[in-house]
């Protein structure tokens, strides 16, 4: 709310990174932004605290850490980031707002007889990116978790290398804390940091690679079917692949000195966020829709949504990367016609509209199918996860008796392998 109100009192004009000193100059709108981010940060810290405690202490009997649905691992990794790193942006924005209102020189330099007695603009960038880089993984990790969750169901095969996938989530989260400096390759900080952050950033490729290869291993030799959730899962992999592969060029400082803050970065970022978050999010919506409403969505409309959105997205992100390489800066509202990127921009814009239209299709689908969709039944996907073993939509008391998990979460292909049994009270 305060974030929206900010627009009324002048908004903010430094982009979302709020680099001071620029963010110290503008209108009062900034204060609103700082306080709203502070409030959102608090809620995300408390939320993650809840999730970690739940995952560590409130699992049903027999569900050891390595028998959890893989999505829970992703959530655990995400929560670790939210619990800790969020404090950095909290304190950063708090200090920014104090500097604005009280003039505390934390970020703005103040030269006294040739000596800087004031703050350093780069401090903000360190504090900001220490949160904001891991924050990207807050989006992406649950998305990757959803991909790992859905692939086995539609491949009818166990998740390939469950433990490795689970631990790679944690690894991505932890490495994510060490790479913030790659947002600052051109910021003018000490040159040796460029080398350190280049190496740590390239290291992210390793756990990410483990995930990709495990997904391939899951599909290999399976019995693949392609309903809408599976299509979106595969769409995520393809888009995330584009995003992931454009990473190393940016992680390598030498090439990043050229590509930094160009549209190439915008393309990279959109591909990772769409592939790692938006596409899996849609996959999840279609996947759990029958569980939530008790009815199936309209499959034909779902497929239209996918086939409009995915190619459009490929056009968009590759288009953004190519205009970036040609010299298009980011964070500007208008571009120089002389760059020769008008055609590229036209394609990107058209693709954007196609994506927006396809999402409208989905919204219509979700609302209308809740009324007229075919009744789904308890387990339309023949999934093994506990939530699919109970009625759809989920009754108020999900499990009438406590359950004890006795099998692996992804034992597809082993006929008759039980997942869990209900245990009566007192039966230990």
């Amino acid at each position: 709310m305060t974030l929206l109100l900010s627009a009324l009192v002048g908004g903010w004009d430094s982009g979302w990174t709020m680099y001071p000193p620029l963010s110290l100059q503008g209108s009062v709108g900034y204060q609103f932004v700082f306080w709203s981010v502070f409030a959102i940060g608090l809620s995300s810290i408390l939320g993650s605290l809840n999730l970690i405690a739940t995952i560590l202490l409130m699992r049903p009997k027999g569900m050891s850490m390595f028998r959890m649905p893989i999505f829970c691992w992703a959530v655990l990794a995400t929560s670790i980031i939210q619990l800790t790193a969020t404090q950095f942006i909290g304190i950063d924005f708090l200090l920014l707002s104090f500097e604005r209102s009280l003039g505390m020189p934390i970020f703005n330099p103040m030269m006294v007889e040739g000596v800087n007695m004031g703050g350093e603009p780069l401090l903000h960038q360190h504090l900001f990116w220490f949160y904001s880089h891991p924050a990207v993984y807050v989006f992406v990790l649950p998305g990757l978790g959803i991909i790992s969750e859905l692939l086995p169901v539609f491949s009818r095969k166990p998740l390939f290398g469950y433990r490795w996938v689970a631990l790679s989530s944690i690894a991505i989260a932890l490495v994510g804390f060490l790479v913030w400096g790659h947002h600052m390759f051109t910021s003018g900080y000490q040159p040796y940091l460029r080398v350190a952050f280049m190496i740590s950033t390239l290291l992210v490729a390793v756990p990410t690679g483990v995930k990709f290869f495990s997904w391939l291993g899951t599909m290999w030799g399976g019995r693949l079917t392609f309903p809408t959730p599976m299509l979106f899962t595969l769409g995520s992999i393809s888009v995330f692949l584009i995003g992931g592969l454009s990473g190393p060029v940016l992680a390598t400082t030498t090439t990043d000195l050229f590509l930094h803050d160009t549209y190439f970065v915008v393309g990279h970022f959109h591909a990772t966020i769409f592939g790692g978050f938006v596409f899996p999010f849609f996959a999840a919506i279609y996947f759990w829709y029958p569980k939530i409403t008790g009815r199936m969505y309209n499959e034909a409309l779902g497929k239209w949504h996918f086939w409009l959105m995915t190619p459009a997205f490929w056009v968009m992100s590759i288009g953004q990367m190519s205009v970036g390489v040609m010299g298009m800066r980011r964070h500007i509202a208008d571009y120089d016609a002389g760059l020769g990127i008008a055609t590229g921009q036209l394609w990107i814009t058209l693709a954007g509209f196609v994506i927006a239209f396809s999402i409208l299709l989905m919204i219509y689908n979700l609302f209308s199918s809740a009324e007229v969709g075919r009744v789904a039944g308890a387990n339309p996907w023949k999934s093994r996860s506990p939530e699919w073993q109970i009625a759809s939509p989920v009754p108020d008391i999900s499990y009438p008796a406590p359950i004890r998990v006795v099998g692996e979460p992804y034992d597809y292909g082993l006929l008759g392998s039980p997942n869990y049994v209900a245990v009566g009270a007192g039966d230990d």
């Binding site: 810290i45 605290l49 809840n50 970690i52 405690a53 560590l56 202490l57 409130m58 699992r59 049903p60 009997k61 050891s64 850490m65 619990l83 800790t84 790193a85 969020t86 404090q87 950095f88 909290g90 304190i91 950063d92 200090l95 104090f98 500097e99 009280l102 003039g103 505390m104 020189p105 934390i106 103040m110 006294v112 800087n116 007695m117 004031g118 703050g119 350093e120 401090l123 360190h126 504090l127 220490f130 499990y399 406590p402 359950i403 245990v423 009566g424 009270a425 007192g426 039966d427 230990d428």
Partner: protein, 217 residues
């Protein structure tokens, strides 16, 4: 959700068989959850104070302002003593010695207030009639960082005192027993945590680096 046990410690759970499977959780289970939550909160807060320390080292490097060493040592000792009295209060609650608890809790609150006013009077110079401090938040990075760090810490001291007061009041109404006094334990570990933060802030503000004498004030 259903009753829980962690596989890592399944053996230790054997004793609590009574209603461990009922949908409601037992006090022991809730206590574990509460403790975990509290410690996760501490971890989270550690990053908050860590960020302030990082800002201090980034901006000051190997220098520091000329803060009054006697004041620093005294407020540090006062906070340390308050931690001791809080320990006594906590242990007293464990053994049901509610009179000791009540006295120790009050000592802690008073020492906490002494610390708070010490900082406000001598570091912030809020009452120039008693003491004229030379730092202001807006004149240089030294003042700015001192105020940011002590301010954030003082905020936690205030909430700590409030917590202890609430617990003292609840204890007065006989809400706690030696077996069930999570509230007392929580406020105690919170208070010790505030002390831990100061353990790092004290050398960072008062001891590390060579003194820079600020000119023109």
């Amino acid at each position: 959700m259903a009753a829980s046990t962690t596989p890592m410690k399944a053996a230790g759970h054997a004793g609590a068989h009574d209603d461990a499977h009922a949908p409601t959780e037992t006090y022991a289970e809730r206590l574990r959850l509460n403790r975990l939550g509290m410690w996760l909160f501490f971890i989270s807060e550690a990053f908050l104070f860590g960020a302030l320390l990082a800002a201090r080292f980034y901006l000051w490097g190997d220098t520091r302002p000329d803060l009054d060493q006697v004041v620093g040592l005294i407020v540090t000792s006062v906070l340390l003593l308050s931690s001791a009295s809080m320990y006594i209060a906590d242990t007293a609650a464990e053994h049901g010695q509610w009179r000791v608890f009540s006295v120790a809790a009050w000592i802690t609150m008073i020492l906490g207030l002494v610390f708070l006013f010490g900082v406000m009077i001598f570091e912030w110079g809020l009452f120039p009639s008693i003491y004229k401090a030379h730092l202001t938040p807006w004149d240089s990075k030294y003042g700015a960082v001192v105020f940011a760090m002590t301010g954030m810490h003082a905020f936690h001291v205030i909430t700590g005192i409030a917590l202890i007061f609430i617990m003292w009041n609840l204890a007065r109404k006989r809400r706690f027993t030696p077996e069930r006094h999570w509230g007392v334990e929580a406020s105690a570990i919170y208070w010790h945590y505030v002390d831990v933060v100061w353990i790092f802030f004290y050398p960072a503000l008062y001891l590390i680096g060579s003194v820079v004498h600020l000119t023109g004030h």
